[in-house]
Symmetry: C2
C-alpha cells in the first residue's frame, strides 16, 4: 500500500509511522510522499532524512482558498496513494478531496470522539477543553475523513487517564505517547492488510480485540 | 458517613455498594436507607435482606410532579444522610433537592461524559447510541449532581472497550461489570474518607492516581 502523509508541524506522528514500518508493526506499506502546508514543519526534514519526497503547498502561494485546495489535492494525487494519512495536519480537507478519496483518508484526533471534537477543537484546545470539563478519561481516535469535521467512521480509539496537575501541554504529550503513536500506525497496518470493512458508516474489523494495544 | 441510595430497578449497583462495604473497600460508611420510585424494584428486596429500611415513593401516589418531588426529597431527608447516591435511579432530581444537597448527591452514568449523556440518554439508550456512532471506547462516570442533566463535577471515570458483535444488552452488562460496580463504590469510599474537594466546578483528589482501578 502506498500512503501519502499530510502534516503541519513537528511530525511526531509521521515519525511513529516510520518507526512502526522499521520495526515491522506496519507491513506492506510504503510512504510515497509527505506534504505540509507549513514550510517550517519539521516533518518535512524527517521525510527528507529518509529520502522520501517532501513537498510544501502553502495557502500563501495561492490567490484563493479554492486554488489552494486544488493544488493540495493535486499534490496528494501526484503520488497515486492508496491511502492519505492526516498526521497532525491542520488543513481542512475540501469536499472535492473527500470525494476523490472516499474512505481512503484517515485522521488522528487527540480525544475520544464524540467528546471534544468538531470545529474549533484542534491542537492544545482539545486538551484545554478536556481539563476544563474535568474529565478523568480522554484519549485519541483514528477515523476515516468524511465531509464533516471529526464525524467519519471510527477505526480505533485508545483511552488515556488524566491526572491531577496535568496541564494542556502535559496531557497533549501523554495522549501522543500513550495513544496517538500507537493507534495511528496500528490503523495503517490494518488497512494495508485488508482488515478493515466500512459498512453503513461504521468500521468493522474481523478477528480483532479492541483495547489490547 | 450515612448514605441513602436511590434506585429504580434491579439494584446491581446497590449490591456492589453492599459488597464493597463487606469486603472493606468502602470504609466509614453506613447505608441508612434505600428509596425506589418503582414498587417492583428488586433493589428494595436487596435492602430488606440486609435489614436496611427500604421505601417506595412512586409518582403514581401523588397528584402532581411537584408533590412527588416534595415527598421524594422528604424521604431522602428522613434518613439525615451525608450523601445521596443515585444508583440506577431514573428519577429526575428536582432543583430543590439539588440545593438541599449541594455536592452531596452523586450519580453513576453508563458512558464517558460528555459523550452520550444529557436528556434522553438513560439505560439501554446510552449503549445504543454508542454502538450507533461506532465508538471503540465507552465507560462509566460518577459525578456530583447539579441542576443540569449529567453536567455536574466528575469524580471518577473508567474506560471500557467495545467489541465487534456487541449488542446494547451485552455492552450494558460489560460497562456495569468493568466500570460501574468499581467506580461507584470507589467514589463513595473517597468521599467517606474526606478525599474529595470540589473547586470551581471541578473535583480534586489529592494523592490519587486515576486509571488504576
Amino acid at each position: 500500500m502506498k500512503i501519502v502523509v499530510l502534516v503541519s508541524g513537528g511530525g511526531t506522528n509521521l515519525q511513529a509511522i516510520f518507526d512502526a514500518i522499521d520495526n515491522g508493526s506496519i507491513t506492506n506499506t510504503e510512504v510515497a510522499g509527505v506534504i505540509s502546508n507549513n514550510p517550517g514543519a519539521y516533518a518535512l526534514e524527517r521525510a527528507k532524512k529518509r529520502g522520501i519526497p517532501a513537498l510544501c503547498v502553502s495557502p500563501k502561494q495561492f490567490a484563493s482558498r479554492a486554488e489552494f485546495n486544488d493544488a493540495w489535492l493535486a499534490a496528494a494525487q501526484s503520488f497515486s496513494p492508496d491511502l492519505v494519512v492526516l498526521a497532525g495536519c491542520l488543513v481542512v480537507i475540501s469536499e472535492a478531496m473527500v470525494h476523490a478519496f472516499t474512505n481512503r483518508i484517515i485522521n488522528i484526533h487527540p480525544a475520544l470522539i464524540p467528546s471534544f471534537c468538531g470545529k474549533g477543537y484542534y491542537g492544545l484546545k482539545v486538551h484545554e477543553a478536556a481539563l476544563e470539563r474535568g474529565v478523568r478519561v480522554t484519549g485519541a481516535t483514528v477515523h476515516f475523513v468524511d465531509a464533516g469535521t471529526d464525524t467519519g467512521p471510527i477505526i480505533l480509539q485508545k483511552a488515556v487517564y488524566i491526572q491531577e496537575g496535568d496541564t494542556p501541554e502535559i496531557l497533549q504529550r501523554r495522549v501522543m505517547e500513550e495513544a496517538e503513536w500507537i493507534i495511528l500506525p496500528a490503523a495503517i497496518d490494518l488497512i494495508a492488510n485488508g482488515r478493515i470493512q466500512v459498512e453503513d458508516g461504521k468500521v468493522h474489523i474481523a478477528d480483532y480485540t479492541f483495547g489490547t494495544i
